[in-house]
Symmetry: none
DNA sequence: CGCTAACCGAGACGGTACGTCCCGTCTTTAC
DNA sequence: GTAAAGACGGGACGTACCGTCTCGGTTAGCG
């Protein structure tokens, strides 16, 4: 077993910095995201920041992972598939318009093209998010609640619709439009 | 009639710079887009660049408009709706993986968040592209070839699926997968 | 004799520009002297300016020469030497604190170190100015109004005192102080 | 005692930059004084320069203060007043033609017009230099070695003559001419 | 009195320097 | 020995002028 005890200052700094990074993302958006500003927000020296993360992408990725832990949706507990699908899509639609994700996702789309690390992180992140949707679609198909579609293709179409509305049009999908979208794809 | 004649030097500079700007956008992406680098690429003085555009946003927005010229799609000529839909999606899927769009679109997604000009261009461009698809879906629904879906919602789901595969996964949609996608959404 | 007649447009431009140059010197001082601003003041194109003078120094030198013509002091007409000396020094003291010379002389002192042309102009200009003073001192000495000093050395000391007060102290010589200065040097 | 210790890098940078600034001032004069060039001369990044001084004025003023250190003139030790006056003027005449002052003083005359800081330094510097001369003149007057002149006015005339010859004529005062100047003013 | 040459305003051009900002690295001191 | 502070070199930003240049349009005065 490990005797490695972690310096409490390190813990404190990391947490303060991750929190500050999310604040900064929400407040300034990604393009204006400044490492200096994050350090200042956290009340910490710039060098401390760079000791924990080598560049802005590592910090942003790490900060986003902390958002990931909050389990979105508990294991299946008899919730009807359609309701589950609508819940997941509503959640996705909301995340895409609220800080800090609202300003981060477009940057992430772009950054993934430039950096393999970012790409790996972003694709894995998206995949894990979509897995829950695919599972719910499959359950609905098996239960006969939905048309007999390919669950994976359907979850791509559903997720894609939400992203499309957010990124390529001026009208992000509203919660009230989710049932219509589900009807369109899943019957 | 207008006698307003344009200094040929201006034409030369503008063209070289717009071309260089697209190159830079593709090569460096938007976050790393550098005005200095554009001027160097174009073999033009920095001050010439700033004489024509006040800042990077103006330049990028202007450069993108030059992509707008190629008229796309011929008028409806009795082509069967399903075939037309598949053709449009195949074309979109291909455009998203070939230069120059392959490298520009991700940058555009990001840049649109930062600049109203870029956003206006990008959304209008996307809308005009998708309009053709919506029309084809509607024709198919009316002809009874497709399920009775909302044409607009369906075209968002179809386009969204193509973008999702390109931007959020490591596997862009291949042409062979288009019929499966159409089946999933349109029955 | 020359039949070369000068295009009246040239005359008009030159005069407007020289006038504007003096205005600009007075208003902005030398350090902030801008060729663009001179052209604008004169209501003339920048290229017209550069057609007549190759650079700022030529223009400034030329503008200053126009100040030279106003004859400071008429030929000796029986004016008492002491009065004449005081008049010349009072005039010098005033010129050094009023536009446009006030801002130009310090610049000229400096520029004379950098450019042989400016040096030649400035030294000749100073020498011609001082010649009148030397003559007046000599007349006073010969008339027995002054101590038997070397007229040249005395005029250097007198002029030097006026410049010293203007350039090296915060208190330029006032007219009321001139008689005291003359007493000190000439008795 | 103070424990405030200074980062040796700061000391190194400051010294290199101040030295470079004086070099630049001498070489290029003030009008052509370039911050970029100073940084290059010092072998230091431009941002380091701006970290220590906000603009050229601050740098120039600071650089000049470094010239202030050499204490000049020993206390009165019974030296005859005329000899003392001649010594001071000879020293001034020599300083004005030898580096570093020879190239800096003209620039200073100009710069003092543009910057209150530079002006304050330059005038204080001149005043302290001239004070010694005024004292010597007063001593000579009291001892009856000189004519009964106003010591202050006389020291202005003497110093002014030296500056005049250096800055406004092509013939700086030579040591051999100093006695003649003293005779002219002080009898 | 019409032509042609000069002069004109307008403004684009390549450059250079400004002062500001932030990056990611590196060094020093304090705890 | 590790953390905090912050100096460092680098480089892009957008602005302002520099002195040069190209462009048509107008004006003057000669032929």
């Amino acid at each position: 077993m490990s005797h490695k005890s972690v310096d409490p200052r390190v813990v404190r700094s990391r947490e303060a910095l991750l929190r500050a990074a999310l604040e900064e993302l929400g407040a300034a958006g990604y393009a204006a995201f400044s490492m200096d500003s994050v350090a200042t927000r956290a009340g910490v020296g710039r060098s401390t920041l760079y000791r924990h993360w080598n560049d802005r992408w590592e910090l942003v990725a790490d900060a986003l992972e902390t958002l990931n832990v909050q389990p979105r949706g508990r294991p299946d507990d008899g919730q009807p598939p359609r309701e589950r699908v609508e819940q997941l899509l509503t959640h996705l639609a909301r995340v895409l318009v609220e800080p800090p994700m609202a300003s981060v996702v477009p940057a992430l789309v772009h950054a993934a093209e430039q950096s393999d690390d970012v790409q790996a992180f972003f694709h894995a992140y998206s995949a894990s998010r979509r897995q829950a949707l695919t599972d719910a679609v499959r359950a609905g198909v098996e239960a006969g609640d939905f048309r007999p579609v390919d669950p994976d293709a359907a979850s791509v179409a559903l997720s894609g619709a939400v992203f499309y509305r957010r990124l390529l049009t001026g009208r992000p999908l509203r919660a009230a439009e989710v049932p219509g979208l589900v009807d369109t794809v899943l019957g």
